[in-house]
């Protein structure tokens, strides 16, 4: 298929359709409203169902219903909306239901601003809603990668029966880039879901539930989740190392999403102008975090510079990967202030 030029948000909508998703529930919020707008227009062509919910709270519970009856379901939102969804996602995770959730992150806390930020890292990777659950979190750094990860997210959600979040920042959502779409999934080829609540015909009722009044049962469900998360940690870590393959590095930068692209440009510039060796490590899965891969690259570096559009939410994970073996500096701006390649280059020269 030929490449088309498309806005990130619209490409995300199309990728979900390609992945076999025909059900979207969501609520408008900048900077991701183009996803619901795109699907509201496009879904009728492919027999999809679009519902504009009354709130993010309702939207995520509609996903609970849709996933519970066995369908591939999607919602997209941005930071404050994702906070509102936390309760519902906790239920969905506890019930072992597959959903795909997109956060096009904007600046926070509070109402914050509508410009790009990466200040929902801790929320996404450490503790979104209540209870012992995890989100599988994937962070694209281009529109093409957003498409590929959305396409895959539905399979991962079905495979592990768990919510999967694709987390991009406002730039990913608003930017246009050439993109090539994967082929349309045949709906008949999607995994069958015998656990779904589709009517108790010739079988005992299926119950989608996360209430366990007996402590042993509640304990057991949390450990069942943990077992699944251990498996995800073992198999689903993803990362990219950029310009890390020529001996000792003066600086290894660690950044994800669009920030990683800005870092790559800065790395190229400083390599060219200062003859310094600069590499960039980019986690693609934010949870599970690619600790080992980062540790391997960090061994080559004199020092590490973490760059984020936040006040340093990922730094602890980098510390965990490196375990004190290298000095770690941080550079970040947030609130919609996006560090430019020149800003990052200046930090590299310090």
């Amino acid at each position: 298929m030929a490449k088309v030029l498309m806005k990130g948000c619209e490409a995300i909508g199309e990728a979900a359709i390609r992945a076999g998703c025909r059900n979207f529930f969501g609520y408008p919020i900048t900077p991701q409203t183009e996803v619901p707008e795109y699907l509201a227009k496009r879904f009728p062509e492919v027999g999809g169902i679009f519902v504009q919910a009354e709130s993010e709270v309702a939207a995520i519970n509609m996903l609970y219903g849709g996933a519970g009856v066995g369908k591939r379901v999607l919602t997209t939102s941005s930071s404050p909306g994702i906070s509102l969804m936390a309760e519902g996602v906790s239920y969905i995770a506890a019930c072992h239901l597959p959903i795909v959730l997109v956060n096009i992150v904007r600046a926070g806390p509070g109402l914050g601003g509508i410009l790009p930020a990466q200040s929902d890292y801790l929320q996404a990777t450490k503790g979104h809603g209540h209870g012992d659950y995890k989100l599988l979190v994937l962070a694209p750094s281009s529109v093409q990668e957003a498409v590929d990860l959305i396409y895959e997210a539905f399979d991962l959600a079905d495979q592990y029966l768990t919510p999967v979040m694709v987390m991009g920042d406002g730039m990913i959502g608003q930017m246009m880039e050439p993109v090539e779409f994967p082929e349309m999934r045949d709906l008949g080829s999607l995994p069958s879901k015998s656990w779904a609540a589709t009517g108790a015909r010739g079988r005992k009722p299926n119950i989608i539930n996360s209430l366990y009044l007996k402590e042993e049962a509640c304990n057991a469900n949390s450990w069942k989740l943990k077992e699944k998360y251990d498996e995800i940690v073992k198999k689903e870590k993803r990362s990219e190392a950029y310009a890390c393959d020529d001996g000792e590095l003066d600086v290894l930068m660690v950044a994800y999403g669009t920030m990683a692209r800005i870092c790559k440009t800065a790395a190229d510039e400083v390599r060219r102008e200062d003859k310094k060796k600069i590499g960039v490590f980019r986690p693609i899965s934010l949870w599970p975090y690619p600790y080992e891969a980062l540790a391997a690259e960090a061994r080559k570096a004199k020092r590490i510079l973490v760059v984020e559009m936040s006040t340093g939410q990922m730094v602890e994970d980098v510390q965990l990967a490196v375990l004190g073996s290298k000095p770690i500096d941080f550079y970040g701006e947030t609130g919609g202030v996006v560090p430019s390649p020149d800003d990052v280059a200046a930090k590299l020269r310090e």
């Binding site: 009354e54 939207a59 519902g88 119950i207």
Partner: protein, 261 residues
Amino acid sequence: MKKIFGYPESLTPSHTHYCPGCTHGTIHRLVAESLDELGVRERTVGIAPVGCSVLAYNYFNCDMFEAAHGRAPAVATGAKRCRPDLVLFTYQGDGDLASIGTAEIIHAANRGEKITVIFVNNAIYGMTGGQMAPTTMPGQVTTTCPFGRNTEHEGHPIRVVEMINTLETPAFLARVSSHTPLHVIEAKKAIREAFRLQVEGVCFSMVEVLSICPTNWGLTTAESNKWLEETMMPYYPLGVLKRPAVDRAPDPMAIALPEGV
């Protein structure tokens, strides 16, 4: 020997956890009988709330969800939109539906979701032990309005079906009671009609069922029935508030209460 009375197929043969005198069990039965009579048990999915009927998924013999507090109509919306061939019902109390879940019920009704909502109004929070509900009567004592509901501070009780009746979207809206056998017969008609309209794909349907809570009201069952009749019923009038025109012979079993009370 001929069996003349037993569990409906849509109920599991279990002992419920409900308090003596509570009418949840009765209302469960009315739902189950309706599903049996319409022959839809095997394609029905119910949504249990948070509240006294949180464990309803153990009592209905059909596929069930347990929803977050107040969100059952959103869960039912998602399920029904994804699988329009299924019959969806929510079973919610007054804290769940009329307090934390107001947005979800109003918008599900307004979108005309083809779901059936059974709304049990006993004017109090039961499961958490007798706190004030949006439906608590003026002057009624609860643990969080220990001097009686003061309408200056807490506002007036919400008449939910009347509120939903202001929406333009076609719907079947009725209020019934469950405190005497005669009222139970009428309640059954309303619930059955509500499900029938969903099965025929006609409209959103909702039945509010007045219920007693002897435990948290601090009254005997007989006193509770009297209180419901004297205090609640004048404020929450029974009847069909809205019924869409349906192009078919009238259901001989249809609820015969006066229209638009």
